[in-house]
Amino acid sequence: MTMPATVIQERVGFGQRDWVSGRTLGLILFAGILMIAMSLASPNFLTQETFFSQSRYVAFYLMVAMSQAVCLAVGDLNLTVGAVGSIATVALGLLMGAEQAGLSPWVAVPLVFLIGPLTGWLHGMIITRLKIDAFIVTLSMMFVYMGLRSGISGGNAYTIPQSFWWLGQGSIGGWLPYMLLIALAVLGLTSHMYRNTVLGRRLLATGSNAEAARLSGIDTNRMVVVAHVLSGCFSVMAAIMWASWGGNAAPETGDNWLIISFAVAIIGGTGLKGSLISPLGIFMGAIIFKLIQHSLVILKINDNYSNTVLGALILLAILVDRAREHFDGGRRGS
């Protein structure tokens, strides 16, 4: 017996027919308004140069934020986002640096990439098997990794061979960076996973109500481990992109990622209490985060206050989102 096409489609998409949620639509609108304002403020905003330059940051922020968001979605958090990136960067330098092992990028990058799932698996196992809170586990592991990176590198940066700069500095047609293409591919895959696969739905179910998910037969411990493994993968991808972009592997890489990871994920609509994640929303969050930073330069806002402005705008974004939720709830209630 064959099922009608519409039923199959609904099952594959788990009943979701909207391409984007109302929340993400709001983010797209907000980013659009920012873009219009900035293009009016600066004649150099709507140029290929700006697109090339700023879209690489968007791609990078997306990776860093996804690293946090996948953990938030299962009701955890990950404070090692930057520290894992830092360790991966030092490893990349040690493997690829001309004065170090001098391995080809085709060998070094896959080896370094393994650090992501391995560290994530370790965090997940400690959290689930020893029943220790994710905050404590990742906080202590963050210090472990930061000490290791300083001890191993002695604070020295390693030069990345120019043969590997293409990933971070290359583009199609001089305006479409490879980094953005990779980030969009990852975005598509992650979106598909959360929207259309059983694994994705189980991850969200774990974040929504772990006890209910467990009683319904989901191995929630396994889902937590999977989330941390994914998180490690995103961190390492961000580190590899950053090293290729800057042309060096500096041990302090990752020092400011933690704030970025929370800020972009939250602006992108990721629920701090789990179960809510939208990779496209996070992508828009990354665009908004970058646009705000770029606007500070364009508008010549007193640099000493730029962090204040940034923080206030993040808070505003959250308040607007909460207000929207409140009114939506009110409408549904009535």
């Binding site: 659009g32 219009i36 709507l46 700023q54 940066a157 500095q169 972009w245 330069v297 364009i298 640099d303």
Partner: protein
């Protein structure tokens, strides 16, 4: 099609149309004039205040506008991000402090490839960098001078505490090596302990205080080759030396924070090395101004030592004049020593 999907298509369509209209309108208008020179400071800090004073003096004296930009944190990532934004606005001449001399390579390369002029100040970028000039204190020479001065102060015999700053600052290993080389020349001098990985004044204070509590009686001298460590050590020694019967620990630091100068004035510490932040700003802008006029560097990369002056109780009130004089001398020599006049290469 759902309501959300229709709204999405409408939003994207309207957005694209508005941006296209703005682009067409702007392409018909002349662009606003930009400051020809950008001086990028890493973060609010007394050193960068001095650098900005130099840039402002250049602007006043030459009538060339300089955009002063201050970043949010001391990381190369933050520098790259802000400078890239400035570049996309159309600025084409940059004076930049390379937080990470190796990490700045990618940024400098990109700026140069796009036809920009880049001058590094405050620290030397990695060899092979695309910066045409670096104006900075000769790190090794300054650390050597500091260590030599301390060895003299302790009479060529004793134990010293070697206090380094941020491990991720590429100048730190150079300073450490310079101090060790000096100590190696004197058989009766030894480094009792090296303190490092310090990025803030608080951390410096904690680490130095721990070392002094643990082995203060064994320490004869302290050499600090970073700003935050110098301030922290000066404060701690002021407290320590005010106590009756406390052992006198000789001290040489780097940089001229008001608190350090006050400690020299009241005799709590012996000496610090004054760098030339004013010159870093003034000379960088002068060079960029000349490069924009068409002057050509004589070599792809040239280092200009901005000099450092030992500051003791004797010259506390006069050392700044010496630094300004040093700047004037360097500026007067720029065209002759480091640059070829416009079109000189063509006429040859």
């Amino acid at each position: 099609m759902t309501r959300n999907n229709k709204l999405l298509i409408a939003t994207l369509g309207v957005l694209a149309a508005i941006l296209a209209c703005i682009k067409v309108y702007q392409s018909r208008r002349a662009g606003a004039s930009l400051e020809p020179i950008v001086l990028y400071c890493v973060l609010p800090h007394p050193y960068f205040s001095g650098v900005m004073q130099g840039a402002e003096a250049y602007e006043r004296e030459h009538g060339v506008r300089v955009r002063l930009v201050t970043g949010q944190e001391s990381s190369q990532a933050n520098v790259n991000q802000n400078v890239e934004s400035l570049f996309t606005l159309g600025h084409r001449a940059f004076a930049i402090y390379p937080v990470d001399p190796a990490g700045s390579r990618g940024l400098f390369d990109r700026l140069k490839r796009a036809g920009c002029h880049v001058v590094a100040y405050g620290a030397q970028p990695e060899p092979g960098s695309a910066a045409a000039f670096a104006i900075a204190t000769d790190t090794r020479a300054a650390a050597t001078l500091a260590a030599e001065s301390l060895v003299k102060l302790i009479g060529g015999r004793g134990r010293i505490l070697n206090v380094l700053e941020s491990l991720t600052d590429a100048n730190t290993p150079i300073r450490d090596a310079a101090v060790r080389e000096v100590v190696a020349k004197y058989p009766d001098v030894e480094i009792i302990q090296t303190i490092g990985d310090v990025t803030t004044e608080q951390k410096a204070r904690e680490k130095i205080e721990s070392a002094l509590v643990a082995r203060g009686d064994e320490v004869d001298g302290i050499v600090c080759t970073g700003y935050t460590t110098t301030v922290a050590a000066a404060m701690l020694l002021s407290e320590r030396h005010a106590r009756p019967g406390a052992k006198r620990i000789r001290f040489v630091g780097l940089d001229t924070d008001e608190r350090v100068l006050a400690a020299i004035r009241d005799g709590s510490i012996d000496m610090t090395l004054a760098q030339n932040p004013f010159g870093h700003g003034y000379i960088s802008c002068t060079l960029l101004g000349l490069l924009l006029e068409g002057w050509e560097p004589k070599a792809p990369y040239q280092f200009i030592d901005s000099g450092s002056v030992p500051v003791t109780k004797e010259n506390l009130d006069t050392f700044e004049a010496g630094i300004r004089e040093m700047t004037r001398t360097i500026v007067a020599e720029l065209k002759m020593k480091y640059l070829n006049p416009p079109n000189a290469l063509e006429s040859e």
